[in-house]
Symmetry: C2
Subunit: 308 residues, 2 copies
């Protein structure tokens, strides 16, 4: 049995891609089960509820050498602890290739598109396997989520084409309304503790010798997030110390206005953002303008900065 | 322009996959040119001559950051020196994933099949791009070469199916006769200097702290190779010293009888082969029985041995 899972601090793509890829593997003769590496965020809970799908179980302890399939990630720091003791047989991903190695020739399918689900849809079509309506809804949700309904610069023509294809199968006639409902669910953060808010969509990146943690909160209600800035900064400070990080950022992305105002913790982060982006900070907030994609607009610039 | 190339000491798959993938990319709208990282072996020269195809040029010095596509390999040690300064945008391969990382999300297509050409054929079919007869002949040749006409344990049902598909397009009615002609060309080693014989199909593998060079000569005429054993051992000894290796092996694979008798250099190599395979050496030759696949039967056992 192949255990299929997305990254730590799972988002909608990480959860739904595990579900859909495991189903695809089963339907093509490979015994597979979907798992998750963390709690659902509110958007994902909304998506699963709308689709009538139960969340995957948390990944149990696997025996050494057990076969696993990674979706929507490939770097060890974003995956299950002890990944090196497991046998990675498959990866479907749309990120740059990190520190992954395999002990056997694997199935790898990476494409520079906006969402893993776009690639999964292609896998179905290439294999002449029909997309089930429930899976269509899950994959459409993931693409809308990852691309912020095509607002993100990571969006490709294939993502748009696939959403139109999936909407017809899922019976979703008003994609815009559905996306707004998803984003509203995501933005309904209620009394989520600050450390959970920070970790909701959070990844650690190595930049040369340094390690930075970068969280993103995509919301239609940035005022709510900035209202909790003090508690969030305390959570960032604690995480920086606990994880031995060199820097921590928390980008608050206003989905509808396509802006990024980033919480910064100290003069260290302020200096880097100034020098890497020309972004000035005021009151512990750096204005990163329209840079709303961590993958495409934040991380590459920081990599280039630290590589100098 | 994307430069497309296979591994150092290119074999038929490395050369033909570069040619075919570059052509596929051009036909799907990506400017691409095939190159090679070394001299053609006699089998590959025969294949290109039969197909009426000119060999790709040797890869020129590329500017920093230039986009490249790797076929039939992914590890730095098997690729162009300075690979880390180039931008790997695409890889099509059927080996385990080594030390490759990318700075941008790439196209990766890895499958555990017998030959890169099998994957390339699938790419054509998935994209509804017809396979040109010349490309069909090149890919068929690569699959017959890599799988030793289905004798190697790396062979999968897909490789067999693809060869039947390509034979029809290429107009090759007697695949067995064509394979024998290829293997005869490969075995016609004439007065090739011993150091070139060693390097014809030669790769360096890291095993923990150690680095081993492992050459393979697949031939229908092993007596010719063993007749030159002394000169080959001198070439192995020189290579071991020059490249700072911990061990060097040269496997002489009898294609038609499916046996592997391996030239060993010193007590170091004899000890490792005894302990890793239970293979005894006599007169500087270890009998590795029917282990004819370096990828599937030699390297994994050595990895397991050195990981102890």
């Amino acid at each position: 049995m192949v255990a299929v899972f997305g990254h730590l601090n799972p988002d909608t793509d990480a959860i739904t891609s595990a579900l859909v890829y495991a189903n695809f593997l089963r339907r093509t003769g490979v015994d597979a089960t979907a798992y998750r590496l963390g709690e659902l965020n509110r958007e994902t809970a909304f998506v699963l509820s709308e689709a009538g799908v139960v969340a995957p179980e948390v990944l149990p302890e696997l025996p050494k050498g057990a076969p696993v399939a990674l979706v929507d990630h490939n770097e060890g720091a974003q995956s299950v602890p002890g990944l090196a003791d497991l046998t990675v047989t498959r990866v479907v991903d749309h990120h740059k290739l990190g520190d992954l190695t395999t002990s056997v020739p694997p199935y790898l399918r990476f494409e520079p598109v906006g969402c893993t689900a776009t690639i999964l849809t292609k896998l179905h079509r290439e294999a002449n396997v029909s997309v089930e309506p429930q899976d269509a809804r899950l994959m459409l949700s993931a693409i809308l989520s990852d691309t912020l309904h095509f607002r993100s610069p990571t969006t490709t023509p294939e993502d748009r084409e696939v959403v139109a294809y999936l909407a017809a199968i899922a019976g979703i006639t008003d994609v815009t309304a559905y996306a707004l409902a998803m984003f509203a669910a995501k933005s309904d953060l209620g009394d989520t503790p600050a450390d959970q808010l920070l970790k909701m969509d959070y990844k650690v990146f190595p930049f040369g010798e340094a390690k930075w943690g970068i969280g993103v909160i995509e919301t239609t209600n940035p005022a709510y997030v900035f209202g909790r800035a003090e508690a969030l900064r305390q959570a960032m400070d604690a995480e920086k110390a606990n994880a031995g990080l060199n820097g921590v950022l928390l980008s608050v992305v206003d989905i509808l206005n396509e802006t990024n105002r980033t919480l910064v913790l100290s003069a260290t982060e302020e200096k880097v953002l100034r020098e890497a982006f020309g972004a000035e900070s005021a009151g512990g907030v750096a204005d990163l303008g329209a840079r709303i994609s961590r993958k495409k607009q934040i991380v590459p610039a920081l990599e280039a900065y630290f590589a100098q």
